[in-house]
């Protein structure tokens, strides 16, 4: 409904996922949430639960071990949702670009709305990114958004939509 759309930007709940980061960006995210930068004044809660989140905050280049979880978490977030790639690794692969165990950036797997540069990106930049992401969140619809890879079909069970197979596992011979 149109009336409730205005409240999307007033209570963004964050899901933070570390897709193989060195923890540099994670510490900066926690600093942004902590007392000094106080992201909570925008109504932000770090939920840790994909089913109740609006903003997917990802750090780290996607390693082969973490990509299934990344897609799984992404497909569990109910729409509308936005994805923020925090740090150089997450945006392009950074210093790990082209390495054998790393996919170059999360946009190989899921659609990204905001890229945050920096190694590690500063809390100010992260807050900027979240404010920008809120603008995007307001324009989004409730249509289902799909990951690019590791994507199974959205099936109909009875007359209900099932997301059970939306994220698929990597087959062993693909690695």
């Amino acid at each position: 409904m149109k009336f409730f759309t205005a409240f999307r930007k007033k209570s963004p709940w964050i899901l933070h996922y570390n897709a193989g980061s060195c923890n540099g960006c994670d510490i900066e995210i926690l600093a942004a949430l902590g007392p000094k930068f106080d992201l909570e004044r925008f109504g932000v809660i770090n939920t840790g639960n994909p089913k109740q989140s609006d903003i997917f905050l990802v750090t780290g280049p996607v390693t082969y071990r973490s990509r299934e979880r990344l897609v799984e978490l992404y497909s569990q977030i109910p729409e509308p949702k936005v994805v923020i790639a925090v740090g150089s690794c997450t945006a392009t692969g950074g210093v790990f670009r082209g390495m054998y165990n790393v996919e170059d950036g999360i946009d190989q797997y899921i659609p990204v709305d905001v890229y945050v540069p920096g190694c590690a990106s500063t809390p100010q930049l992260i807050i900027d990114a979240i404010v920008k992401a809120l603008e995007i969140l307001e324009t989004k619809s409730k249509e289902i958004e799909k990951p690019f890879k590791l994507f199974g079909a959205i099936a109909m069970v009875g007359n209900k939509l099932s997301r059970l197979n939306m994220a698929t596992r990597v087959k062993h011979d693909e690695i």
């Binding site: 409730f4 007033k10 209570s11 106080d38 909570e40 639960n49 089913k51 109740q52 289902i144």
Partner: protein, 272 residues
């Protein structure tokens, strides 16, 4: 008039929750979210796509909210205190069943912890009710609030009640049921959108429920009651900001060793 208050109970609780988030932020020298933040959250949740695991799971969450609302209504109407404690127990059982009804390991863990919390605080609530009965000669709240002097006769029961308030409103050191990032919300984990909203609102009602127990300790003097509630509210938030979470079994042990023995000593002192 009383029906208006009953209808407004979730909104009242929401304001308390919003005010509490501001208070906690100020204690940490932060600005904190606006007071109306819980309502913004609720409106946003209405605008999300809702994912349901299975229908009974969603229904149990809704039932939990409405039974809790009925419990709060019973308090406002001045019904029997024992009924109210057991109605609340029923509401919690619905929530625990909801936790066990899905296959998520975190949900089961949360339901286990919710059961242990129940085991910890339920005897204290019943002993507080018994204490009121011994003092006023009736279990009816309407009768109890006509008397007075409870604080003088049952100080240890009041301390015991103040110890279980953090369990009920999920504050440190006894916030094992929710345990933010540790078990990501426990029984709440599989709820989303519209149905999570009911659980979110039932948290507001928990505030009204437990603080009304604190309130009736003042008896006939409503001013003293408000002061008691404000005092316990400040204390609980101060302790929340200053302590870390204890382990679940540790919590049960602390409550049984300290709060339960304090209550029993107090009851014996009244009887003898």
């Amino acid at each position: 008039m009383i029906w208006v208050w009953i209808a407004l109970a979730p909104i009242l609780g929401g304001l308390v929750y919003g005010g509490e988030r501001v208070l906690r932020a100020r204690m940490q020298r932060r600005q904190g979210p606006p007071v109306l933040q819980p309502f913004y959250d609720m409106f946003k949740l209405l605008d999300k796509r809702t994912l349901i695991v299975h229908a009974p799971h969603a229904l149990l969450g809704v039932a939990h909210f409405f039974v809790l609302w009925f419990t709060v209504a019973a308090i406002f109407l001045g019904w029997n205190l024992l009924y109210i404690v057991f109605l609340h127990l029923f509401a919690q059982m619905l929530l625990i069943l909801a936790g066990y009804s899905v296959r998520s390991a975190y949900s089961h863990l949360g339901a286990n912890r919710e059961l242990l919390m129940l085991i910890a605080y339920e005897p204290i609530l019943i002993l507080v009710a018994v204490g009121f009965y011994l003092q006023s000669g009736s279990f009816d709240i309407a009768q109890i609030v006509r008397g007075g002097g409870y604080l003088v006769q049952m100080p240890l029961l009041f301390v015991a009640l103040a110890m279980i308030v953090p369990i009920k409103v999920k504050k440190s050191p006894f916030d094992v049921g929710e345990a933010h990032q540790e078990i990501v919300g426990g029984v709440e984990i599989e709820y989303s959108g519209l149905f999570y909203e009911f659980l979110y609102m039932s948290r507001f009602l928990e505030y009204i429920f437990i603080y009304s127990f604190v309130f009736i300790f003042a008896g006939v003097s409503y001013g003293l009651g408000a002061a008691l509630v404000a005092g316990v509210f400040l204390l609980v938030n101060l302790v929340d900001n200053a302590t870390a979470r204890v382990r679940t079994m540790h919590m049960v042990k602390i409550i049984y060793a300290v709060a339960l023995s304090l209550s029993i000593v107090n009851i014996m002192w009244i009887v003898l």
